[in-house]
Symmetry: C2
């Protein structure tokens, strides 16, 4: 019996089972992708059907008291076996489920979570908190080693309600299992929104965002989920942690910041009070073209340090400018190959006042560095049903969110379409970027015999950018995971050697461990381990993520 | 032998020994203070001279290897016995030194800090990290209980250099013992500054700011020291922690955020990379008068949620409007007693662009809520020697920084001039504020038989303000500490009961422990305790602060 009350998710790719493309749809989609990937994709294959997959029998059975919320069904187990990294999707596509959970639980109340953890402690099972399952770092794969009797994936999807809205303080208490659209829809009636649009927005959840330090869609100022959290509530194996709702505090190290980024190793986040924004009424956007990298980054650096706080300030390299250029405006049309034109997507928005002056100053910045572009300004009435996804600025956002579906087709058509991301201070950026892009391009060519590497800035801070790299390369059937792992290792080594972070917003999970271990201070890891042993003495929670159990 | 190379600090009050007012200066200063305090101060007394104080003999002696940086002299010990809370200043004024450190150490290198902690471990002494000694929460008082062989105050003043400046990323590596003026002066030659001006700016240090989550002078956006830290370096008894310099990261819980607010219990912060600002060129300021509290707070709430990010947005109640009103503009002149006029100090600044438009929008906000005021705009050339303290906007800042000196005279003249601060969400503010101000006013009258309570907002966030309360009340000679403790307890109970934080930027220290213990989640305290035991297994560091040793 499947106990979850919602649409069945696609077991291998993005989205839901009822969206799964058939063979003809895949073929049609793939046919148009030559210009996107820069080489000829293969004829798309079809995924191994779930009926043809045999999972090992569950090693543990749920107690009677939890039967109503637990499932050992193949679909539940297979669809919770992986996140959505390329190495996850391709394995599921090939019907290769290496560490499926023995049981999937869908708690309906926080008390269910408490009882699930108690059961895990009793039987010696590992517990893997699961939000939208969109981890691209192995964060939800139950690869926990041999010392557990089994694994339970705890899927929070039933806890998806906005419980309270405080319009005065612009904040809401939201359950951790609510995904992007669920949060947007429930807040829209109050004229409010979280304005947090990660690429995984459609499926990923509040709890997942907090646990992984998700980066929002906005380019500057309050965008990282870290800054949007007003208070958190989490169930640990030794009790509940609930922090006080406060706009700011100086009372000791922040308890919220201990949970933010804890990736499920300290507790299961069940709800949080989040800081909201009014839906924007005024917008201004522009695509600005720069003749080369140096002038583009100089302009972005000035913008990042200007105090103008643009809501979008994404610089696309010539590869991505070609791929996305058609999005927001005709001006941003694809550049011919070899062109050095970099495209800056610049936008301002406000619920309070027109932002045309901001844009004028921002464009002034760009022009001083040789950028060319014009603003499109927009003012609109507040509408109660506005979910913040309409309007011309949103065109690129739409393309961005659809990327996950496009990726599935590419994977079926023998393409490795993967990304990795980082952040680095401005003073190191030039050397850093050259090293990362050269190392990665070399690795892609060596491993795949062809392919391309594009990049963009997803976020910019006054002291440095967050570069985001995209790889499109031909896969060798049966060797895809090894191929990707080899490219990933080369890129990750380059990032750490050149002074970046192994992740700006994708999280550490299991896949980033070797480089995270070089990045974080040893004594901090020791302190975190001690905190974990205190909260989770049986090491039940997400073993192998961030630190060794 | 005194080993410190700098000016001798005043043992009881603010500043330096050479600034100590004599009897006539005190009398003259006190004479003008009736209108300030609202009742007649007494004839100022003189402090007990240090020659008349006998401290208990030091219980420990420094080893030969550390003799050059350690002192057991009375002046060193007495001036490190307390912070600068009223209960500290009055005890020192009366010659009552309850827990002087046995030894004061002035490390000249990080290696000295390592060796000092090794020595403390060997002899079983507690180590109290000491920056500017301006704690108002008992954070540097060596009140550590009976289980230590002695106490060593580790004063970082010799580590006061800006070591590296990265003008591209606008960041600098600064030693933890550098105080506000030292940092400003060293950064001014690069046209940069930290733009962090706590009230203790003159004496307090970078390490102290980080350890206590200091609140900057700015009212909105990047002002808390938390947001200005790019990386930190600290010596723990079990090794050094150094975090990677990054503009942003999502790699696990932030190691910086574990050290930020740790109040010396996890390690001695020795240096940090800090995010800087260019010196402002454009400024606009206004004093806006509101007829009552409700309209004033409505305007401030709108400003806080507008995305305009004013650099000053301080609302003064009628009491403080009277005291400070003469500062920035003639318009802000003292209100007659009983008047309900609230005064908003509003300012914008930028190094990048004129801010007149920002001010116009800000004043528009104020006027929509009945506020009256005009802007004063200012643009100036960049000057290499500009230390950011000139200009009309700085007048109030000057008054603000002088407060600490005024306070000493008031204390000598039998006044309790103390402050406490908090933060709370907007939805609770009205009820919260009424409860806190009534409870505190009742306590002041009951305990002191008279006096007044004023308040202001020091910082405002989109989801709530940080109210700051000032008490001026007549002291009873010999009972001052008990008087203050009784008022403080009443105010603190009210804050915690009504949903605020026990501290927004003054820290927890020893004095706030009873209320902090009610505020922080138990399981968080357990996790923090476990982290501390891992880093500081002998519980050497600042015992009694934040958690029990």
């Amino acid at each position: 019996m499947t106990v979850a009350s919602v649409r069945r998710r696609n077991v291998w790719g993005w989205g839901y089972e009822d969206q799964q493309p058939d063979a003809k749809e895949m073929r049609d989609a793939a046919a148009g992708m030559r210009s996107y990937v820069g080489f000829d994709p293969c004829e798309p294959e079809l995924p191994v059907a779930l009926e043809d997959v045999e999972l090992p029998a569950p090693r543990i059975a749920s107690p009677q008291s939890l039967e109503g919320i637990c499932s050992g069904e193949t679909h539940d187990r297979a669809s919770h076996a992986y996140g959505k990294a390329y190495r996850d999707v391709i394995r599921a596509f090939r019907g290769r489920f290496e560490n499926p959970p023995d049981m999937v639980a869908y708690p309906r109340t926080e008390q269910d979570v408490v009882e699930l953890l108690e059961w895990c402690a009793q039987v010696g099972a590992a517990a893997i908190p699961y939000g939208g399952g969109t981890s691209v770092t192995g964060g939800v794969e139950p690869a926990v080693g041999d010392s557990y009797s089994g694994t339970v994936s705890i899927d929070l999807r039933e806890l998806d309600q906005v419980l309270e809205v405080d319009e005065t303080s612009r904040a809401a208490r939201i359950q951790a299992g609510a995904n992007g659209p669920a949060i947007s829809q429930q807040l829209a009636q109050h004229g409010l929104g979280l304005r947090h649009f990660p690429g995984s927005f459609e499926l990923s959840t509040l709890g997942g965002w907090i646990a992984t330090r998700s980066g929002g869609h906005f380019a500057t100022v309050y965008t990282h989920i870290d800054d949007l959290v007003e208070s958190t509530r989490a169930v640990t194996p030794t009790g509940v942690i609930e922090t006080r709702r406060l706009p700011g505090s100086g009372a000791g190290p922040s308890p919220d910041r201990m949970l933010i980024g804890s990736e499920g190793i300290l507790g299961v986040i069940t709800e949080a009070w989040m800081r909201l924004h009014e839906r924007p009424r005024f917008k201004s956007s522009a695509s600005v073209r720069f003749a080369d990298l140096a002038s583009a980054t100089a302009a972005v650096r000035e913008l990042s340090q200007s105090g103008l706080y643009p809501t979008n300030c994404r610089l696309l390299d010539p590869v991505l400018a070609g791929l996305y250029g058609a999005g927001p405006s005709a001006e941003g049309s694809p550049s011919p190959d070899g062109d050095q034109v970099h495209l800056l997507m610049l936008a301002f928005e406000s619920a309070h006042h027109p932002v045309d002056d901001w844009m004028e100053l921002g464009l002034g910045c760009c022009r001083a560095h040789g950028g060319e572009g014009e603003a499109q300004n927009e003012a609109r009435e507040r509408r109660a049903d506005d979910d913040g996804t309409s309007g011309s600025v949103e065109a690129w956002r739409g393309a961005f969110l659809r990327e996950a579906y496009v990726r599935d087709v590419l994977i079926a058509a023998g393409v490795i379409p993967e990304t990795f991301e980082t952040a680095v201070t401005w003073d190191r950026f030039d050397e850093f970027h050259q090293s990362v892009i050269e190392t990665t391009t070399d690795a892609v060519r060596r491993v795949c015999g062809g392919g391309r590497v594009g990049w963009r800035f997803t976020h910019v801070y006054p002291d440095g950018p967050a570069p985001y790299y995209t790889i499109l390369a031909p896969a060798k059937r049966g060797s895809e995971v090894q191929q990707w792992d080899e490219i990933k290792a080369a890129a990750s080594e380059a990032i750490i050697a050149a002074g970046g972070t192994i992740t700006h917003h994708h999280s550490v999970g299991r896949d980033h461990r070797p480089w995270y271990d070089k990045q974080r201070p040893d004594r901090f890891a020791a302190a975190l381990g001690a905190a974990k042993r205190e909260l989770d003495p049986d090491a039940l929670l997400n073993p192998g993520v961030l630190i060794d159990p």
